[in-house]
């Protein structure tokens, strides 16, 4: 039944008022002619309003004549009437169609490339790689063979272990897994020395193979040989071996920090000003004057890509420039304060350098007082294994 109503909405229907004394007869005639009526309402003792399909409406005339009823049309509804309404407004319809067509056409291009998973390789480098293989912003995605692009890039680059291109609407997601650069592994049957990777003072030498060159208490520099890859026998003479072992040393890490007692610092006043500009591809339109009204300010730029729905990116960007006003403020530290700040700064840097906190043996702080500054040097003594294998080249 609902299907019949829906069909009539598509094909068009009319609302009709029938007036007469024999409306029941009229309705029964309609029934016998298999005319579908719906939403019948009795508004008056001689009037009935109902809906009827366009096709059936033509059949009503003889019935109305027979039953002496008057038929009055009230409303025309449905798609054919709706279309008829817009027949005169050709430009409207054409522009509407054009918009739909342009959206369809634009959705076939790539308007955004997202790169994820890169740690050491620069984003621009990957974009360049993609560009070489005809994959860039503004390219049509029809007929694009992502598989081939992926293959090409993988052949070209050894440091990319895996690359995947996923196209979601107008958004392309490039996923990259970088290959770990493996250290050159020296085979067991090749000869090698153990050399120092850092400067330090030797605290322990355990050589499993080879002759130790250094002993406890020696100070070594980076690159010097710790354990030689040879053995000297009484009868065999010098014999080269694959050196192996562990060398532990005290390594010093130091960081300096200088704090001036009289400083000029930026202090934000909290006042902000936003300026917008629209960027279409490479064409930029400023919506307001570029110059800020503040005397001293920081500029923060952010760009936002416009998108339709969740991942239909448009080639339009909105630039926002935020100007944050600041004031210069004179700050004077006391000696003690400056020292604390400097130590804090230096230790912060050192903590980043030294990952293994348990290996720290000693911490030293040297303070140098100047006339209007304080310089602090923080030194960490860390126990570390510093050996590395190096091939012997004859």
């Amino acid at each position: 039944m609902y299907f019949k109503i829906l069909l009539n909405i598509i094909l068009g229907y009319v609302t009709i008022e029938v007036e007469g004394y024999f409306i029941e007869r009229f309705m029964n005639y309609c029934n016998s002619q298999k005319i579908f009526l719906w939403n019948l309402k009795r508004t008056h003792s001689t009037k009935v309003i109902f809906n009827i399909g366009i096709k059936d409406f033509k059949k009503l005339k003889p019935i109305a004549k027979k039953t002496k009823c008057k038929v009055k049309m009230q409303k025309k509804k449905g798609i054919p009437f709706f279309m008829h309404k817009y027949k005169k407004r050709k430009i409207f319809v054409i522009s509407f169609l054009l918009i739909i067509l342009s959206i369809i056409a634009l959705s076939n291009f790539i308007w955004n490339i997202e790169i994820t998973g890169n740690e050491t390789i620069e984003k621009a480098e990957i974009l360049n790689l993609l560009k070489e293989n005809n994959f860039e912003i503004g390219k049509c995605k029809i007929g694009m063979k992502t598989n081939e692009i992926v293959q090409q890039i993988r052949l070209k680059r050894a440091d990319i272990a895996w690359i995947g291109i996923q196209i979601n609407g107008t958004n392309a997601i490039v996923k990259i897994v970088e290959a770990d650069v493996k250290p050159d592994i020296i085979k067991e049957d090749e000869y090698c020395n153990l050399v120092a990777t850092k400067d330090g003072m030797i605290t322990k030498v355990t050589a499993q193979n080879g002759t130790p060159v250094v002993k406890e208490g020696d100070i070594v520099t980076k690159g010097s040989i710790l354990v030689g890859g040879w053995l000297e026998g009484k009868y065999t003479g010098t014999r080269y071996v694959h050196a192996n072992g562990e060398v532990q040393a005290k390594v010093w890490y130091s960081q300096k920090a200088k704090i001036e007692l009289n400083q000029v610092q930026k202090a934000k006043t909290g006042q902000e000003e936003n300026k917008y500009s629209v960027k279409i591809n490479n064409f930029e339109i400023n919506l307001s004057k570029r110059v800020s009204k503040f005397k001293k300010y920081d500029t923060i730029e952010t760009t936002k890509k416009l998108k339709l729905f969740s991942n239909f990116y448009l080639p339009i960007e909105i630039h926002t420039k935020t100007f944050q006003e600041y004031e210069d403020r004179q700050i004077t530290y006391t000696q003690e304060e400056a020292k604390n700040i400097a130590i804090e700064e230096a230790t912060k840097k050192l903590d980043e350098m030294v990952q293994n906190k348990e290996a720290i043996v000693n911490k030293n702080v040297n303070v140098e007082n100047g006339a209007d500054y304080i310089e602090v040097e923080v030194i960490y003594e860390v126990l570390e294994n510093i050996e590395a294998k190096e091939k012997i080249v004859f």
């Binding site: 029941e24 309705m27 029964n28 029934n31 009526l37 939403n39 009795r42 009935v48």
Partner: protein, 98 residues
């Protein structure tokens, strides 16, 4: 009349054997009332009277009277009729064969 009844009896037996629903195999109307505001009548013959407070429908076995107010005929096809509105009472007038 007697002959017709016999024919009916045979038909009934066949229908029972085939497990046909009664409303399809015969002209008996099926009346479904949903709540107090919706009423579906299948297998009706004609509308005898239609006012917004009173509807009289003839079926093959008798006449159906519906009392209420704001009664609308929501859908009307050759064999079903959907009445909506506040239904207050329904009564039947069976045709007695004499």
């Amino acid at each position: 009349m007697a002959k017709r009844r016999r024919e009916n009896k045979i038909q009934n037996k066949v229908n029972k054997l085939l497990e046909m629903p009664a409303e399809i195999s015969s002209n008996i109307p099926k009346i479904t009332i949903l709540g107090f505001e919706k009423m579906l009548i299948e297998n009706y013959k004609a509308i005898l009277e239609y006012q917004d407070f009173y509807i009289r429908i003839s079926t093959y076995i008798g006449i159906l009277n519906i009392n209420g107010y704001e009664l609308n005929l929501n859908e009307m096809t050759t064999d079903d009729l959907l009445i909506t509105g506040k239904i207050e009472g329904v009564d039947f007038e069976t045709i007695t064969e004499e």
